[in-house]
């Protein structure tokens, strides 16, 4: 498979997953507003700023908007084209990547992605404001439909594995950020994690975290209704069966990476496989107590950094085109690639080509 095609598959999948996660976070926040209405002021910046911290860059947000209101945050995370992680940007990038490999994916996959893109072009902020529920549901369903179509129409070869890696690395990263931010908000005092402030607002907030991962029902089946932060950490970080937990995501990404390279347990053939194997092993043998000893924030940050490192190595190994002399010395330079990056630089020349 061409390196560029592999790279575009990876990023197509990754951007699509990012858009879905953004839709989830926003959706749950709107639900939260309904739950908390009357108990506390719901348009309070505290309820909206964390979304920016999870999904994007607060500095960039502040440069464009005055306040963290529902309307501003929605606008920034859904419609803002300058924000590279807004839903509209993410789907745009997913589509650009797909378009550059249109001959390699199934036409059904392309049609679905293309449909969502055209739908997003037609939606107005007012529509989302009037009926956020339907809008976010549309995005989530579109993503699920895309994954289902991919499952059923895309050959199980290397390309499929790159799609899986993109999806699960993004998911692990997004989940880690979400838990990190929410945990810090809800557990403000250092060293007091055993001393829970179990008021109803917190419980509702924790339930919201679970809901944004579609995890509330699955969680209840395991822990009944004991919504306490440790159980939630255990479930969202360490559960091996729930498809949106960090451990599950890392494990799924590892499986796909190993399929490509032929690595097995105790026998890795390259650096990506080593890093992901190490991460998987760590997650497999960690308990919630271990996480507390390390510190929840530090632990989650390490996961996020781990995902970045895996991305860098993946890039060098499979996407950097096997030409050692043009590989950047510093791996982070290499990450400027986002699949179609470079495409924009080519734009002006591409269009100079006259059509006969």
């Amino acid at each position: 498979m061409l390196s560029r095609v592999a790279e575009s598959l990876f990023w197509m999948s990754r951007y699509f997953e990012r858009a879905e996660n953004t839709a989830r976070f926003l959706d749950v926040n709107f639900n939260l507003m309904l739950d908390l209405n009357g108990i506390t002021s719901v348009d309070h910046p505290n309820y909206w700023s964390p979304l920016i911290m999870v999904m994007s860059d607060p500095g960039d947000f502040r440069a464009q908007y005055e306040e963290y209101t529902a309307q501003n945050v929605t606008d920034y995370l859904v419609f803002n084209r300058q924000n590279s992680s807004s839903i509209i940007s993410s789907i745009g990038m997913a589509r650009e990547n797909a378009r550059s490999i249109i001959e390699s994916i199934s036409s059904e996959m392309w049609e679905q992605l293309n449909n969502l893109y055209h739908y997003l072009q037609s939606v107005t902020p007012q529509q989302v404001h009037n009926d956020p529920y339907s809008f976010y549901k549309e995005i989530k369903n579109a993503s699920h439909l895309f994954q289902g179509i991919t499952d059923n129409t895309f050959s199980r070869n290397e390309g499929w594995d790159f799609v899986q890696i993109g999806k699960y690395l993004e998911r692990a990263d997004n989940s880690a950020r979400l838990i990190d931010v929410k945990y810090q908000m809800l557990m403000p005092k250092r060293g007091q994690h055993l001393d829970l402030v179990k008021n109803s607002v917190d419980i509702i907030q924790w339930m919201a975290v679970l809901k944004s991962c579609s995890a509330l029902e699955a969680f209840r089946k395991v822990y009944l209704s004991k919504i306490d932060p440790d159980n939630i950490l255990r479930f969202l970080i360490l559960d091996r069966a729930f498809p949106r937990s960090i451990t599950f995501s890392i494990c799924a990404a590892q499986e796909a990476l190993w399929k490509i390279s032929g690595s097995t347990t105790h026998r890795y053939v390259n650096n990506v496989d080593r890093l992901i194997g190490k991460m998987d092993a760590e997650l497999s043998y960690t308990t919630v107590d271990d996480i507390h000893i390390r510190g929840v924030h530090d632990f989650l940050e390490e996961i996020q950094n781990g995902v970045i490192k895996i991305g860098e190595q993946l890039h060098l190994l499979y996407f950097a085109y096997h030409t050692p002399k043009i590989e950047p010395v510093d791996a982070s330079e290499g990450l400027a690639f986002t699949g179609v990056a470079g495409g924009r630089a080519n734009w002006s020349q591409s269009q100079q080509q006259q059509q006969q």
Binding site: R4, S100, E103, Y318, Y321, W347, Q351, Q353
Partner: protein, 482 residues
């Protein structure tokens, strides 16, 4: 009786109408089509048209319009009423084009080797050697099988008598063949019954034939030579076509950055290392192919590609430097070129052409600017031209200055009344619109033509410009066996 054609005014006294004869009755080969359309209402046709547009949009069958900051994707407008060519007409087109392409290939081979035709002064040497598309770096380089122009698409028009004339040759990277294939798919969906009533020759074999042609020119002796398509990338207006053809042939679509040259051999960069490439169907212009030889700032090409090509380690389709023969000035010499190499009279005529570089012609051009179409010799896609009768006095004066400043760069032709064909307009009316025809010729071991081609139609009422970048659309083209 006919609801749809009730108000159709063929204007057959001024133009050749493809469907209606001068007597105002449908020509025999259009009879069945007319009967089918009389059974349909405007709403029926609208519904079918809507269906087809949706099909095109969802498939991403779009092209990009230039001149705006970011490319805007548009659907190439499609007209539902098919153009029908009876087999005896087609046979003449086929013979004429094969004759023409064969002669042009001889011409290219000659000017890049012995240059006999220049020594015999049949074509003025300065016009060839001074052409922007003449690549002196390739003098003496023989491409596989001695073939330069593997994929071509000459534009044909019909004048007021219905005679087919060649308007221009496209010997570099002609586009549009994907529309020929997709239009056929769309028509089969929208009018299955009508399709059934005619014996329409299939065009679906084109991708296989293209692949065979490309494999035939492989410089390496492999049973299964590796072919790739080289595209400038997703921002190119014909990107859809590049990906479509790659997909239909089952070969990889590559960009410049996917290829690397090592030791004068070309490889693709894959997740499993480097893989050797034998043939490149390139849709990148000469100028951008190799930053080491042509434009050093090109990001679309492959460094070292030209050396690999010169060493005979990779084949390019089309070969480099073919643009010199589709130059609009050289065009005017094609009848002589055919006689010179083949000793035959041209089967298809040229459109009468005046060269601004010839002082007598120049005088005539400047005096008759209001009657002529003036074209820049090296531009394509409807850019850089003046349609005299439709231009303002001011535009004509500006153009006259351009011509005088650089006469080698301009030619003029009479404003031809292109034949017209009924087309379904947005307002529900059927109106006569000007059309042309681009058949596609493939040339590996021998030349062959897909029975059909792309009929482009000027969907703006009265407009003569059929280019997609200027508001043109297309029709399915049926070659039928009677």
């Amino acid at each position: 009786m006919t609801r749809l054609f009730e108000h159709y005014d063929a204007g057959a006294d001024r133009f050749f109408d493809e469907v209606m004869s001068k007597e105002g009755v449908p020509r025999a080969h259009y009879d069945k089509m007319m009967r089918r359309f009389t059974q349909l209402s405007v709403d029926d046709v609208r519904a079918r048209k809507h269906l087809i547009n949706l099909f095109f949009r969802n498939q991403g069958i779009t092209f990009t319009v230039y001149g705006v900051e970011e490319g805007i994707e548009r659907i190439f407008p499609f007209d539902l009423i098919p153009r029908i060519i009876p087999s005896q007409e087609w046979e003449k087109i086929e013979r004429g084009l094969i004759q023409r392409i064969t002669a042009l290939n001889e011409f290219l081979s000659d000017i890049y080797h012995a240059q006999k035709i220049l020594k015999d002064k049949v074509v003025p040497a300065e016009l060839v050697l001074g052409s922007a598309h003449f690549r002196r770096e390739f003098v003496g380089v023989r491409p596989p099988l001695g073939v330069y122009i593997h994929v071509t698409g000459s534009d044909l028009i019909r004048n007021t008598d219905g005679r087919y004339l060649v308007l221009e040759d496209n010997l570099r990277t002609p586009s549009g063949v994907s529309y020929m294939l997709q239009n056929r798919q769309a028509m089969k969906r929208a009018f299955p019954v009508l399709f059934d009533r005619y014996k329409v020759r299939p065009v679906d074999g084109y991708p296989q034939q293209l692949l065979r042609t490309l494999q035939e020119i492989s410089p390496t002796q492999k049973s299964d030579p590796k072919v790739v398509v080289l595209t400038p990338g997703i921002y190119n207006s014909a990107y859809f076509e590049h990906s479509f053809l790659a997909q239909q042939m089952g070969v990889q679509l590559t960009e410049g950055r996917d290829l690397v040259v090592n030791n004068n051999k070309v490889y693709t960069r894959t997740t499993r290392g480097l893989q050797r490439v034998d043939v490149i169907y390139r849709r990148v212009d000469d100028d951008f192919l190799d930053p080491l030889v042509f434009r050093p700032d090109s990001k679309l090409g492959v460094a070292g590609l030209i050396n690999a090509y010169r060493k005979g380690n990779v084949a390019l389709a089309n070969a480099i430097g073919t643009g010199v023969a589709d130059d609009k000035v050289i065009y005017s010499f094609v009848p002589e070129i055919i006689k010179y190499y083949l000793g035959e009279e041209p089967i298809l005529d040229n459109v009468e052409t005046w060269l601004a570089s010839n002082p007598k012609h120049l005088k005539y051009i400047l005096e008759n600017l209001d009657k002529l179409v003036v074209k820049s010799a090296n531009e394509s896609g409807g850019y850089g031209m003046l349609v005299g009768p439709h231009a303002s006095q001011e535009e004509r004066e500006t153009f006259a200055e351009l011509i005088v400043a650089n006469p080698r760069n301009y030619i003029a032709q009479p404003t031809i009344s292109l034949s017209r064909h009924p087309s379904f307009m947005g307002d529900g009316e059927i109106a006569p619109c000007h059309i042309d025809l681009r058949p596609y010729v493939l040339y590996g071991k021998s030349p062959s033509i897909a029975p059909g081609g792309l009929t482009r139609v000027a969907l703006k009422r009265g407009s003569l410009v059929v280019n997609s970048s200027q508001g043109g659309g297309s029709k399915d083209t049926w070659v039928i066996d009677n």
